[in-house]
């Protein structure tokens, strides 16, 4: 078993164990954080290729609505089918949007991705006879592996499903980062000219990376839909996409675990900031982001790295996690 797989399974076991001991509201916040972490991971994978997307809400919402329609209108009951449908929808939307976006870089990529998600937001708002407009749609509780669950049992099971999906995504993303495509992403960020003169199409590389990111954000969206039981156009709004970028910077881009660390910290800070300072909670988040950028530009992952270095000095045989 590789070190990454071991670490992933260890953290999954920890997450599942915490599900039994933590208060229900904490588990729910954790569930949302892990689901959002998937979308943040998609932002980080794009950042590895030098691309900043302010439009991951497109896949997040697209998949959530696809799963919502499947459950509510088409009679799909199984959560796992909805999850598969969500990933497929995210990837399919990316396959279409990528045809345009793979040609652009930097601010143009960022703004076009934002524009596409806002177009989708507009459609969700206006097509109210299908989407429920700004009110959104409620989604009936799904079955999980054929079992009809309700209440705390359902919430605990969906938490376990979300944590398992997050763990699988972390491991797959780790494999991806060490694959030729993962390195090609870094090469595209460093030097597109060289990549072309290695015989690799940069546009194709960006397109494939975009597909991976679309699928991941889609997975996050469908998990949020299943856990919350309600979908609304806000999932595609620019603030949702901006939140993913915010969390990516908060957590750091140094590792595939970092987006989930960032998402967990973000969700709890937001929850408490909203509780104790309901009218200025955005300001609290802004101050935190300012502090992170000024004093910890590598994000919260820097703390892990610092601790790891200390342990490494203390125990020379240990090896940093790649």
């Amino acid at each position: 078993m590789t070190r990454a797989l071991g670490a992933t399974l260890g953290l999954l076991a920890l997450a599942l164990g915490l599900g039994f001991v933590l208060p229900e509201w904490v588990v729910f916040v954790l569930t949302l954080a892990l689901a959002k972490g998937l979308a943040v991971l998609s932002v980080v994978l794009l950042m590895y290729a030098g691309l900043v997307s302010f439009g991951q809400g497109l896949f997040f919402a697209g998949s959530a609505y696809a799963a919502g329609f499947a459950i509510k209108l088409w009679g799909v009951e199984e959560a796992l089918v909805a999850v598969g449908l969500g990933v497929a929808t995210g990837t399919a939307i990316a396959a279409l949007a990528g045809l345009l976006l793979a040609r652009y870089r930097e601010i143009f990529f960022a703004m076009l991705s934002l524009a596409l998600s806002m177009i989708f937001y507009g459609i969700l708002i206006k097509a109210y006879w299908v989407t429920g407009g700004s009110d959104g749609l409620s989604i009936p509780a799904p079955r999980v592996l054929g079992f009809a669950l309700a209440g705390a049992e359902l919430r605990a099971t969906l938490y376990a499903l979300t944590a398992s999906c997050a763990a699988a995504a972390v491991y797959l993303a780790h494999r991806y980062m060490h694959s030729p495509l993962g390195y090609a992403a870094q090469a595209v960020r460093d030097n597109e000219v060289r990549v072309e003169y290695l015989g690799v199409s940069v546009a194709r590389a960006v397109y494939l990376i975009y597909l991976v990111a679309g699928g991941l954000a889609g997975l996050g969206g469908v998990l949020v839909a299943l856990n919350v039981g309600h979908i609304e156009p806000h999932l595609a709004y620019w603030t949702t996409s901006g939140e993913f970028v915010f969390i990516a910077l908060l957590g750091g881009t140094g590792n595939v675990f970092a987006p989930f660390g960032g998402a967990i910290v973000y969700e709890f800070v937001r929850t408490y900031a909203f509780k104790y300072s309901p009218y200025t909670w955005q300001m609290t988040l802004g101050v935190i982001m300012l502090g992170i950028i000024l004093f910890m530009p590598g994000g919260l992952w820097t703390i892990y790295r610092a601790v790891e270095r200390k342990v490494h000095q203390w125990r020379p045989s240990s090896r940093p996690l790649a």
């Binding site: 991806y176 030729p180 390195y183 030097n191 003169y197 199409s201």
Partner: protein
Amino acid sequence: MAAVLETAGLTKSFGGIVAVDDVTVAIRPGEIVGIVGANGAGKTTFVNLITGYLAPDRGRITYLGRNITARPPQEVTRSGIARSFQIPQICRSLTVLENVLIALAAREGRGLRAWGPLATPGRERQALEVLGPFGLREHARRPVGELPEGGLKLLDVAMSAALQPKLLLMDEPTSGVSSKEKFGVMETLLRVLEEQQVTVIFVEHDMDVVTRYARRVLAFVEGKVLADGPPDEVLAEPAVRKAVLGLA
């Protein structure tokens, strides 16, 4: 012997300036061809046209009998033509070894695989074999940013060599390299490339380098090939001495 590369009437203008003007040349297998000329003579534009960075206004480029005119760089590269750059084009956030591994995966047609590691034991072995003759093997695990300029030039060519090209175009391989290093760099490059039977075209300003290493010289003046032949003959021609070397 059939030519590796042929250009026929190759022309490229930028506005009113004709950078490459009706150039017709044939490069035979195994040749080491130096391209000389003053700044703005059209040397780099000629290289950019062959490697697909620019599309010609007129003319035809044939590589091993195939028309590659205006094909995009990745297609030209896949057909067996590689290039290195005046300013080394490498991935600076990666290590020396990773740069070559990416090149090897690209050569295998697996440069965009999302599954399976880039650094397989077999590919690592091959990468170290590529780096060995360039003297970069001991630097394999170092970040690229730690290499001196001469090392960067060698890595730039090593990445191209990893593609096992039939034809390599090098744009000013000794620019930015100290005068102490330049002959060492050229000797290393040409020894490796000759061993691999790669046909080489290099653009160079340094006439010491050209006379020492080129077997044939193309002298460019105002986009045209003014002279073509062995270095001592071409560089002795009065028109070349005047236009290229600035000598009366």
